[in-house]
């Protein structure tokens, strides 16, 4: 119970008028940053980091983590309303969130997303409070083979859980990997696929691809359908909060599953983005409403949001206990800690208990404050849909261009964004799934380097992936997922040729 005592001490630190004010400011800024594509949580925290140098470390980290919570909440808003994920981890939220907005349920989707975010984050904070030392030890065992196994499972689950043609999923995913391999090879330092073009040195940035594929692609699709903006019929009723909350208790199992997936991915560190995809995929596979996913199911919004936020929050656990950031934003926060003269790691808990427990207490408070703030603003967010399309369309193209430019400060990326926009339109039309492409682009480099490192360790022996129970079980699960469609076909053939046809 030492943790509880320490936590109450932390609440005493965090619960001051000054700190609550910092939380409100931080969350407002964070939501703005989350809504704008291209200005991610990591950028936002990095830009505001210098402003906090004059503050005491506890106040500074409360402000910065609040920005992080705000960005996590804010990413869901544009995903649901415009089908533009403001952050990579809200890509999975668009699958059901945007159809809900098209069906006139934007307010319910937003309330569901915010509540789910809150539940996921609180679950992860509880985990940080009590399980920090235990889990940290476990994560220390991760080598390249284990990392590759986790990444392999993530990709395989797309093939196993995707709708539509498995071949189109594979093609789309491999295109992502191919694009990710462009540029400087991280292991040997050779240039790949650049063909002498300097602009390609840095490779294709996934944010540019995401902004083009989703943002510009969506604008093209809406333009083709005529001047109506999908979801413009959203009715705004103030009882949306109560209406949505009534539906949520039924989904407790989805919440629990996504929380566990999210915490696992956040700590390992898979990060919030794969966590949100896995949360969505698992819910789609296991939920009663699974077949309706993609058509605007509230559960399809809840599952990825819960997982993403559990992961985003849990990513702070390895940062605090080991000094290994679990996400880009956590990495920036880590930089902040060092600048304030604090050495992250197990000793931080002993030497700076006020700071650590103040931070953990502020995670609870920051999420409560954040939830209250975003929920009261739902009608304001949904009102954005009433703006005429002939204003929204060029304005979104403008914001997309800004987002693409800021990734590398290069006009080349803006041109790439336009090309990705056309690709996004075509893929959308022909039902090539976009999420596998984006995820392969995000994780491609990491997956490749952990694969090559694992191969180096074992001198080319593939059995390294089955060398211990942890890695082996993840890899086996991944293989089952990858060949799931084939297994399904086989099973269908076996049952139909059997004497009694089983009712589906």
């Amino acid at each position: 119970m030492d943790e509880l005592n320490a936590l109450f001490g932390g609440f005493a630190v965090a619960l001051s008028a000054y700190h609550i004010m910092l939380m409100v400011i931080g969350i407002t800024l964070g939501v703005v940053i989350g809504v704008l594509p291209g200005l991610g949580g990591a950028n936002g925290v990095a830009i505001l980091l210098p402003l906090t140098f004059s503050m005491p470390p506890t106040s500074a980290i409360i402000l910065l983590t609040s920005i992080y919570w705000g960005a996590l909440f804010g990413g869901a808003i544009t995903s649901i309303l415009f089908n533009i994920p403001g952050e990579p981890w809200s890509v999975a939220t668009t699958f059901d969130g945007h159809p809900m907005a098209q069906n006139g349920k934007a307010d319910e989707a937003l309330v569901g997303a915010f509540t789910a975010s809150f539940v996921g984050a609180i679950f992860a904070v509880c985990l940080i409070t009590f399980l920090a030392p235990v889990v940290a030890k476990f994560a220390l065992k991760f080598g390249p083979a284990e990392f590759f196994a986790v990444q392999f499972l993530t990709f395989a689950s797309f093939i196993g859980m995707g709708r539509g043609s498995a071949f189109k999923t594979v093609a789309s995913m491999c295109l992502g990997f191919a694009l990710a391999s462009v540029g400087l090879d991280g292991v040997t330092g050779t240039l790949r696929m650049t063909f002498g073009q300097d602009e390609l040195l840095n490779g294709f940035k996934f944010l540019v691809a995401v902004i083009g594929l989703f943002g510009v692609g969506e604008i093209l699709c809406s333009m083709e359908d005529g001047l109506k903006f999908n979801g413009a019929t959203a009715k705004l009723r103030m009882d949306a909060v109560i209406r949505t909350w009534k539906q949520l208790p039924k989904m407790w199992l989805t919440f629990l599953r996504s929380c566990i997936v999210g915490c696992w991915m956040g700590i390992t560190p898979g990060g919030a983005t794969p966590a949100s995809f896995m949360g969505y995929g698992i819910a789609k596979r296991l939920s009663k409403n699974g077949p309706n996913f993609g058509k605007g199911e509230l559960e399809g919004v809840v599952a990825p949001e819960t997982a993403a936020h559990a992961a985003g929050t849990a990513a702070l656990l390895p940062m605090l206990t080991l000094g290994i950031p679990g996400s880009p934003t956590a990495a920036v926060l880590l930089g902040g800690l060092l600048i304030w003269g604090l050495q992250p790691g197990p000793l931080l808990f002993v030497e700076q208990p006020d700071f650590v427990w103040g931070l953990i207490a502020s995670m609870y408070l920051g999420n409560v404050v954040g939830l209250v703030m975003v929920l009261t603003c739902v009608p304001a967010f949904a009102a954005i849909l009433r703006v005429p399309f002939s204003i929204i369309a060029p304005a979104i193209v403008f914001i997309c261009a800004i987002g693409a430019f800021t990734v590398n400060n290069a006009m080349f990326d803006v041109w790439m964004m336009l090309i990705f926009g056309v690709l996004g339109y075509l893929f959308n039309k022909l039902r090539y799934p976009l999420p596998p492409l984006v995820l392969a682009l995000v994780l491609g480099d990491q997956a490749e380097s952990s694969f090559r490192q694992a191969m180096l360790v074992s001198q080319g022996d593939v059995s390294i992936f089955w060398s211990n129970w942890l890695c082996g079980s993840i890899m086996t699960l991944g293989l089952v997922m990858a060949f799931w469609p084939t297994l399904q076909t086989l099973r269908a053939k076996l049952t139909s040729s059997g004497p009694v046809a089983r009712a589906a």
Binding site: C174, A178, M193, P388, P394, I402, L426, L430, E448
Partner: protein
Amino acid sequence: MDTNDEAEGRALFSYRTLDIAVALFFLVVCAIVVTDSLRLGIAWKPNEGPQPGLFPFYIVVAMGIASLVNLAQALPHTEDGAKTATTVPGIKRMAAIFVPAVVFVFATNYIGIYVSAAIYIGAFMVFFGKFPLWKAAAVSLGIAIVNFMMFEVWFLVPLPKGPLEAALGY
């Protein structure tokens, strides 16, 4: 753009045509990557591990196989494949946002992103949204100025600027 025109919109491409085109696009990407992977080497080097081309090579081989299957599935004339994917009015409407967007990006190089965006948004509102000129001017300038304040002044993110911003001292 009245609805009659839309209903009778001339078919431009069928799903079959588009599917074949995209499958071919994948195969072209595949060929490009395979060429460069072979240059980089796809073998196993003793004590050095896999050469840099190995991973991309096998990835695009998988992509090539999947695309060939997609192509094979798209080739036969089927009822689904013959359905209209895009119509002439549809393409025209898309061009209405996309062609100006290309001009907008091109102009950004010379007059900066804010002026370029204000013209782009304003022109689109007048010609496509049929807004009166004063409304279009107010909205487009408003959006450009708000973004200018947000990125240049508050967040200190430098974006491409042109002669106008230079004249204002930025």
